[in-house]
Amino acid sequence: MKQFFTFVRKEFYHVFRDRKTLLLLFGLPITQIILFGFALTNEIKNAKIVVADYAKDVASQQIINKIEASKYFDIDRSLMSHEQLEAAFREGKIKMAVVFPENFNEDLVHLNKAQIQVIADAADINTATTLTGYVTNIINDYQTQMKNSQAMPMRIVPEVRMYYNPQLRGEHTFIPGMMAMIMMLVCVMMTAISIVREKELGTMEVLLVSPFKPFMVILSKFVPYLIISMVNITSILLLSWFFLDLPVKGNILLFYLESLLFIITSLSLGLLISIKSESQQTAMFVSLMATMLPTMLLSGFMFPIENMPIPLQVISNAVPSKWFYVIVRSVMIKGAGFSAIWKETLILFGMTVFLLVVSLRNFKIRLA
């Protein structure tokens, strides 16, 4: 046991001696959240929007006046075609467009139902949601007024279209996604690099010749990164609670246990990569490919999995962060209990066992 602590202490020396990496390890989650927090809390004022009024009738005029009266918008009244609108969006000149079709008032009076098209640039999700929210409110407001003054109930249907990101995923997806990514990055890459470095330096050979068990070498490598990840999780949780007003809704103990499981999955993946790589560069490259890309693309954090082609959907099942992402979203955002996530937990557990068994078997082969 004393040997084990000697080894763990040595691992901490490595971590703390490398200031740049250390800064990255602890600074990354904090900066990410703070930056994101500011992006979120910024109130939108004077957003450039285009109002294309093809109707030019009483109702459209009244609604436009209302929009104009609000401080949120900076209106450009011009009859742009859809092509022109798209060009303006692409160049970033406008944030939103409101289009009144011809016969707007007529439809409203005769059919008791009319449509307004609201198009937003959802590449910037937060702005897009906020702006369309404002406009929808203004339209609803107008409807209520009309209802009171007229006998027949009328309905104006704002047809909202989000350009570039129809799913509108925002901060509630950001925090769980980022947790998965940071933990993967720290655990997989750091473990892989630190084991491969010992191979490169030749110290691994010396360790294997010593009475210290290979399994203990691996275990000692795991400890520092496990602790660092736990610290990172805690700082992300605290920041998102106090800064973004996004506390953990579910059981906090359950949350930590699930995180621990995911950390171990990541550490095992790092171990496997380290066994297969011969140089630190390879280890780093493979780790990045195996963690960053799948976590960003296939975990559902940035792009909805349901919209992907079937083969990609199938592949996404092999990405551990996909399952952790679902778990965090359920426990943290929705406040779900274990009964809702047992399946995901089981899958992660299975993956961990698989990775560990494959790694340990290969580690032994290297000794033969």
Binding site: K10, G202, E205, S210
Partner: protein, 247 residues
């Protein structure tokens, strides 16, 4: 019959069709400096790895410090020291931290670790460098430190895998003074090398060609046997027969 610390009988290692070590038989006696010579790819490292318990032999028998290389690798590991050609120190740790770490994983007590590391630092004349990172030390010092660390737990045998690669002859000579000192303390030294001047420093040497041991005797006897003036000549006579390409 003489005591032996290493005894190998027809020890072989095959990787598929490739026979890296072919029926090696030899004995090493206590306190001896035993040189293991051969060109690159002759099988020196494979042989050494089998004796250290890093690699399982394909066939044959061997005991190291009286323990069987198949079944008693844990006991072997406790009784040997090992220094690889890469010197194997942690560059981002200080001299003292390196010493303490290696002493620690061999299970020395805190008191022993303190005493040993003080003694070692003094003996190597590293007092003023003991708190410095190893990366700041010149190659020759690292090598000496690495060797001293490899025998910090007083093993019966120390295995040195091409320990003097990349250093100048003067530093190499100084390094051999450390090896002699260890040998005087009764530690058996098993050293692989391809420097022929080093071969002359050994008590006995074996020369490997294509996975086999082609010659084994004292340097003086070998020179006589091959009618050669230096170990260089002995080695070339043997190495010329090699069919295997060096890697």
């Amino acid at each position: 019959m003489k005591d032996t610390v290493i005894k190998a009988e027809k020890l072989s290692k095959r990787f598929g069709d490739f026979i890296a070590a072919n029926e090696l038989s030899f004995e090493v006696y206590p306190g001896e400096i035993f040189g293991f010579l051969g060109a690159n790819g002759a099988g020196k490292t494979t042989a050494m790895r089998m004796l250290c318990g890093l690699s399982i032999p394909s066939s044959g028998q061997a005991t190291v410090a009286g323990f069987d290389v198949y079944r008693q690798t844990d006991e072997i590991k406790r009784n040997i020291g090992y220094m690889s050609q890469k010197f194997s120190l942690y560059e981002d740790l200080t001299v003292l931290e390196n010493i303490r770490f290696y002493a620690g994983i061999y299970g020395l007590s805190n008191k022993e670790i303190r005493e040993k590391s003080d003694e070692l630092v003094t003996r190597l004349g590293l007092e003023s460098e003991s708190e410095k990172l190893v990366s700041a030390l010149p190659l020759g010092w690292r090598q000496k430190l690495s060797f001293s660390v490899a025998i910090i737990h007083q093993p019966k045998i120390v295995f040195l895998d091409e320990p003097t690669g990349g250093v100048d002859p003067v530093t190499r000579r100084q390094f051999w003074d450390l090896i002699y000192a260890a040998s005087d303390q009764g530690i058996t030294v098993f050293v692989t090398t391809h420097y022929m001047d080093e071969a002359e420093y050994c008590n006995r040497i074996s020369i490997m060609v294509d996975g086999r041991i082609d010659a084994l005797d004292t340097p003086a006897n070998l020179k006589q046997q091959f009618a050669a003036r230096s170990m260089d000549e002995v080695f070339y006579q043997l190495a010329r027969k090699a069919k295997r390409q060096a890697d």
